[in-house]
Symmetry: C2
Subunit: 542 residues, 2 copies
């Protein structure tokens, strides 16, 4: 590797990489052709099935010194196929049902290339032009999908320089932070002598308004990005208060109300409630209408994190599951999850077109006041034109197409839940509300043993099941035929003890019922050879 | 448009978009082929030269209702060529010298497609595998470029699960926010009863440490993202204190020292100094060594925003301009600026591998403690594999290749500055230190008139020149042959009054000396027909 294949840097060879594309018979062009003609085949063939240990992979990425000499593109392409592509994750495989990523519609690939070639920067119109109205339209269409205002509303606000119906961003984390940033700044707004938190900071704001603390209430199942938001916004993770969920993993709104009243009695202002529409771990949706009522009662902001579940609004058959979402002050939706857009497309929608005023910013050379530059209302600055890919998916798939995809996912999850329930070796832990469910491998005999065990023994079996589940999940992943993920819940069935479970997300339209059956069969076979199972659990089967 | 070309959504047609690529003779495939064989030609032909007014473009992006029916990909591609691509900005054009975007090396296009097709999510190893060590290597190589530690250091830390040598992100804004987030959290760390700001929030932290306020000091020329950081981090924009610059647009460190002492006398703790290495408006570099001395004196954090200028480190001939950067606690560099990577690749480097501990976060299902998941140290969550494109550019271009590009840019800026100085119709406002300079169209006779004018008249001329410069910049952009940007400075020559100037960035390797001459010639011609010039300024020429 290296020196002998290196090209000498001359001005001429350097200019060539900015002007002359690779010859059609070069390694990179061949790779591209394969991707274009058959992406699934390319991924199947080039991603190694059996996992190489990470420390082995790292050997190819050891050098911390930037290479001095240039390298031929074809040589680089060859290296990257062997060192990177072969050991990446086949996120599009229909048997890889542990991720929120899925197969992609093929047309997004050439469109991505177009997007990269155009290399627009959405921070301002001067570097994005028509991409700005396009992004505003995408935000408008998503806003309409969630809030359903009338035509007059969108005519007035969608392209207005004064406001923004939402903010596009790289993903749900930035979207959630943006929403809570707005909530915080709206609460601690300018008032009399106080110029507002944006100008004077939290300390001055709290003193002015006489709050001893600010709290955000969210289900125990809230996404970890919310804790990150609490940290970065200066609120503190302890003031981000997790509320217990009911047996269906939905937040207990009565408990939330009690907690809110206790906090307020202590002089702590409830800044916001955050509802989750599709928790990452179990896929459940909080009672959004009840939460909207409570936020009205408390006079606080109401944000819904629908990063994953928000796409369900596209199905007229299932959008009722998110009833109440239209009462939220803001909503996070990730297009790169169930909207089948490639990684890097999140958005947050604002009920009130003036919401983003609270975080507005300007600069001399861009984002001038009165401009329609999108950058004056976003957390990020320079950003690529990802909105184009969302726009493309919306138009090519259409609402009805999305409806079919969403409905199929939910049906598939119900089917998989039935398979699990009908199999004496498996136990369903959480029922699918959307297309996500959790389960474990716990043969009926072990379930019986648990029921009959004394406390000490029960604790022992619980611990063994946890270790076994984690081990099996890892072994299945390493074998490379299929992938389920795992998480830790505290379900009713296990006395609310920490319980490691398999987690699957069935959004990939290419995942067939036959594949689901194979995954269970593979797990049964893996269990039989699992060292932890053999050592600690096998004895209960006799 | 619309209904008549729509495909009926059937499950079969829907599945097809996830499996079968477009036929090679479809519109989208033809577009892709054109991009592959000749990107520059494609952009030249398909982006309309003459600007269509924004309100006209918006007409194609009016509908806020998501279309119900699917649409054929080819039809969509046709629409997008007419409605979007034609009215996007030709950021790669060698005569468009107003942006920080440039022409891209051609190999990043097929690699981008590969990246999108792989659709990895860098938040965790489970969805990114080899992309994680690759990204860590990119951070390591950039860290080495800036800090130059020894091999032992990188062997120990580059792939360590415990730490991170930096954080990859979508751009410089997130990078700057991440750096100051760390600075804030390190200052208000856990201490005795106090569990630290991340847990308890700013208010508790300030009370515990007895600070009346926290301040960040930065040059008046600091990027607007720093104000955004002050807002989101709860510090307040007023506590983000701009310090005047000298006649070379470099921060006056003596003034910074005075201000710091005044603040500390009032009980306000200086949290951080931010040095700028390549200001957005004039391209100058703050005296980083002096700032490092001051931060040592004050015992505060030192961050350098080298989003644009950081790439200069790649040139052994010019990296001395950034001397002292290696003393910064953290450094922001955007790969999508002078490293010729497509939009969406920023990074922040940490001198101390343990720096990011201050913002570390974990979750049950991912980012488990002890894992090498990159997401435990990043502001963003799910993120695409952009690091691959940086890796590719570093290896294919090589340090020497970059050196040539950086040096050529600086030489070109010096050449353009000479052209301007030698032309009696133009006035250089800021000398290029890197490849960025500012200037105006002010014929010698007008310069003379200013020198002889009384105060009232001078103010009048100044105002006319500002209006004229803005008008001409807009007219040049609309004509579509070339593009320079504009900003507002307060230069010496104009008694520190707000002064609208042309701003150019000469990073595009395809921008020739001949093009630079043409741009000045075009501006001369435009001035002659400018209505504002004719009305208010022409009279001084006689």
């Amino acid at each position: 590797m290296g020196p002998k294949r290196c090209a000498v840097a001359s001005e001429e060879s350097l200019m060539r990489i900015f002007t002359v594309p690779e010859a059609p018979d070069s390694t990179l062009s061949k790779i591209e052709l394969e991707i274009s003609s058959n992406l699934a085949g390319f991924l199947n063939e080039n991603i190694a099935a059996i996992e190489k240990p990470l420390h082995e992979i790292e050997k190819d990425f050891q050098d911390a010194v930037l290479p001095e000499e240039p390298m031929f593109v074809s040589d680089y392409a060859q290296d990257i196929m062997e060192q990177l592509v072969a050991h990446s994750v086949h996120t599009a495989a229909p048997s890889f049902i542990g991720h929120m990523t899925s197969a992609l519609p093929h047309f997004v690939l050439p469109l991505s290339k177009l997007m990269v070639g155009l290399n627009q920067n959405l921070v301002k119109i001067e570097t994005s032009k028509a991409f700005t109205p396009l992004e505003r339209q995408v935000l408008g269409m998503m806003h309409h999908l969630a809030y359903g205002n009338d035509a007059h509303f969108y005519d007035k606000w969608m392209h207005s320089a004064k406001t923004s119906l939402g903010a596009f961003c790289s993903g749900g984390t930035i979207a959630n932070i943006t929403a809570l940033w707005i909530a915080r700044n709206r609460l601690l707004k300018a008032d009399g002598e106080f110029k507002g938190i944006a100008a004077q900071g939290i300390l001055a704001g709290m003193l002015h308004y006489g709050y001893k603390g600010l709290a955000v209430l969210v289900s125990d199942r809230g996404h970890y990005s919310l804790g990150k938001a609490a940290d970065i916004l200066g609120l503190g993770r302890e003031n981000f208060i997790g509320i217990a969920t009911d047996e269906n993993n939905k937040v207990d709104v009565e408990k939330m109300r009690e907690t809110a009243h206790q906090l307020q009695a202590k002089g702590i202002k409830v800044l916001a409630l955050v509802g989750v529409a599709g928790t990452t771990e179990t896929g459940n949706i909080d009672p959004l209408n009840d939460m909207a009522d409570l936020s009205a009662e408390l006079g606080c902001y109401f944000h819904v994190d629908a990063a994953w579940g928000g796409a369900t609004l596209l199905s007229d058959n299932n959008r009722h599951l998110l009833a109440g979402i239209e009462r939220a002050d803001s909503i996070t939706i990730d297009a790169h999850k169930q909207m089948y857009v490639p990684m890097g497309a999140g958005l947050v929608l604002f009920k009130d077109p003036a919401a983003a005023d609270a975080i507005e910013h300007h600069a001399e050379y861009i984002l001038r006041k009165g401009s329609k530059d999108l950058g004056s209302h976003t957390l990020e600055g320079s950003r690529p034109g990802m909105a184009m890919l969302v726009h493309a998916c919306m138009r090519v798939i259409g609402r009805k197409g999305y409806e079919m995809l969403i409905d199929k996912g939910i049906d598939k999850a119900r089917y998989f839940a039935e398979l699990i329930k009908n199999d004496p070796d498996f136990e369903l832990i959480s029922e699918p509300e959307l297309c996500l469910l959790t389960y474990r491998y716990v043969p009926k005999q072990i379930q019986r043993a648990i029921a009959q065990a004394d406390e000490a023994e029960r604790i022992e079996i619980y611990a063994a099941l946890n270790r076994f589940t984690a081990s099996m999940q890892k072994r299945q992943r390493e074998t490379g035929r299929s992938f389920v993920s795992r998480t830790r819940l505290t379900p009713d069935q296990y006395d609310h003890q920490p319980t490691v479970v398999f987690r699957v997300v069935l959004a990939n339209p290419l995942t067939s019922n036959a594949i689901l059956k194979e995954i269970l069969a593979e797990q049964k076979a893996l269990a039989k050879t699992d060292p932890i199972f053999k050592k600690y659990l096998l004895k209960y089967l006799s």
